[in-house]
Symmetry: C2
Subunit: 342 residues, 2 copies
């Protein structure tokens, strides 16, 4: 059996579950490599993927004998068969953080399940730890992103617009990767004070700051990086804020290794910002993988122990409303004794 499904089977057995319904397509892609619309169910004896006519052929071509996944067309399943899937299962797990309230009710009714049990993101927890193949994909996506920054940095001159630069980036990623991992951010001047600014027709002028936050995908895996550029010479205040953000970005990465509490790292940045009369208004970082934002989330409020083979971003930022903002972000790999920028 596919080792990721085998892992999940062992995991749910330990939780006293006799079956599980996996609905989150990203978890399904992680476990099976299937990219389609459908539901993966682990019954007592079988692994079953239920999809529809649009995907049957593609799914059949993706799964191997080795996977031990039986593929069903949803049209061919009778109500009786639904009820048989989990017969003699006392407890069946479901993804309470993905499944809607309406779907939860439908599961209960359709599969006639006595105990639908919350599984507290077991698959997402496992996805935090990246294997070699996953790391290779993320590394490649990061390399391409770095090259994209090199390429576009030549075009950051007065009179160019945010949208022109954003389109260059999107084209670069569609030509050199599987396209963008999230909506490209190019925010100049006062727009840079909004962390999630959408590119506009604003033209760059002297003494503008330009915050560029971008990422691409390789085999479904994402990169996420931010650089802050100056058009011409920065003002004294811009330089001061930039230095403070850069210092905290670098220090955070130096402080991270297996076993460190992410909350303490985030607190360190918050304290240094506060000392300088600024605030840390968003989390310090997040996991990156099949999703550009995934577990873990690095907050000043929640204890979380970083572990070897986790891939996370470090992205301190300072935003002065109506003036400018600075953010510097890298995707890093947590290792036994250090962290490395990917």
């Amino acid at each position: 059996m596919n080792p990721k499904i085998q892992w999940l089977r062992n995991k749910i057995t330990n939780m006293d579950l006799q079956g599980m319904i996996i609905s989150n397509p990203i978890n399904i892609k992680y476990l099976t490599n299937i990219e389609a619309e459908g539901t993966l169910i682990l019954t007592r004896k079988e692994n079953i993927y239920i999809t529809d006519g649009r995907y049957i052929e593609a799914v059949q071509n993706t799964v191997t004998v080795f996977d031990e996944i039986v593929v069903y067309d949803v049209r061919d399943i009778s109500q009786e068969e639904y009820e048989n899937f989990f017969m003699y299962c006392e407890n069946v797990g479901f993804e309470e953080n993905y499944v809607t309230y309406a779907k939860y009710k439908e599961f209960k009714y359709r599969y006639k399940i006595h105990n639908l049990v919350e599984t507290e993101n077991i698959v997402e927890q496992q996805r935090m730890i990246k294997d070699e193949e996953e790391l290779e994909n993320i590394k490649k996506a990061c390399e391409i992103t770095r090259k994209c920054f090199e390429e576009i940095s030549k075009h950051l001159v007065p009179e160019k617009t945010e949208l022109e630069i954003a389109k260059k980036i999107d084209t670069y990623f569609s030509e050199n990767a599987e396209g963008i991992a999230f909506e490209t951010i190019v925010a100049s001047g006062e727009n840079s004070s909004r962390p999630h600014a959408v590119p506009t027709n604003r033209k760059f002028t002297e003494q503008d700051i330009v915050v560029i936050d971008i990422g691409c995908k390789i085999n479904g895996y994402c990169s996420d990086m931010t650089r802050t550029f100056f058009i011409g010479e920065p003002t004294e205040e811009q330089q001061k804020v930039y230095n403070l953000v850069k210092k905290n970005h670098d220090q955070s990465i130096r402080d991270i290794y297996d076993g460190v509490n992410a909350k303490m790292i985030a607190k360190g940045v918050e304290n240094d910002f506060n000392l300088n009369r600024f605030n840390l208004i968003h989390s310090l970082g997040h996991g990156v993988g099949l999703e550009v934002h995934e577990r873990p989330f690095l907050s000043t409020k929640v204890d979380f122990t970083l572990r070897e083979k986790m891939v996370i971003t470090i992205e301190p930022g300072i935003y002065l409303s109506g003036q400018f903002g600075v953010r510097i972000e890298d995707t890093i790999l947590v290792q036994k004794a250090c962290a490395t920028i990917l």
Copy 2:
């Protein structure tokens, strides 16, 4: 007050709800134009949008006095305030088809709501009917898509690959629109027999069929169109299947106007396919708007009355496993006495 929110307030009053929690970001964008992460709540007296530090400034810049929306930073809301929002509200609506089971439980606990009531997609139902501005956006997206087809049709020659063409399309949409509305499909030869094929390095050869399914976005509104091309002369069977699909595509559009049952249209196509020993393996079409797939869904199984100002696709397709597929799709506007291709 913003007319769309006023409409929703009247609607929920008729449903004996004293408040509502709107979580689906697309419904929030539709109602308020806000594009952020957050929750819109309608209390007895106020419209409140709850977001976080990353979006506060952008949201403040989007909402107008006329909207009558109060913006809160989630960090500033105490447990007591949460409980006050729906005080004296007997029934509060929520989006059971969007909200996860975990979130449903959190709502009950956080807002101390007695009766969290399912609202059966009231906002999505309203979104089916497009106003002038929405129509303009979709029309523009369709025009750009048509031009993209013109542009790339020149490149559909032997030795070109699916991926090369897909990248041209993505670049075209990132330069002429807000990028792609969904993952571009370029499926040639036997790949075309998979309705949701992902572009590969397969090279086109003589007598290939190439199915191209693409769309772009304008102000958040999508287009969705499919064309089937021949490389060189088609075989007799390819031409026969193509003609049958084209005939049913054209006939369906001719048969649609305000008041028609979509199920009968889909049944008509299914019958004609079956008569010719083929099957209709996916639905005949779907609504298009802020989402590329939205209500209504045109199936052979569900009665649904098409109404004036709905925008839907018509996309009959025939797929011969391991051989080839043909699909032809247009985005159309349902009108009083006819339907027009957008």
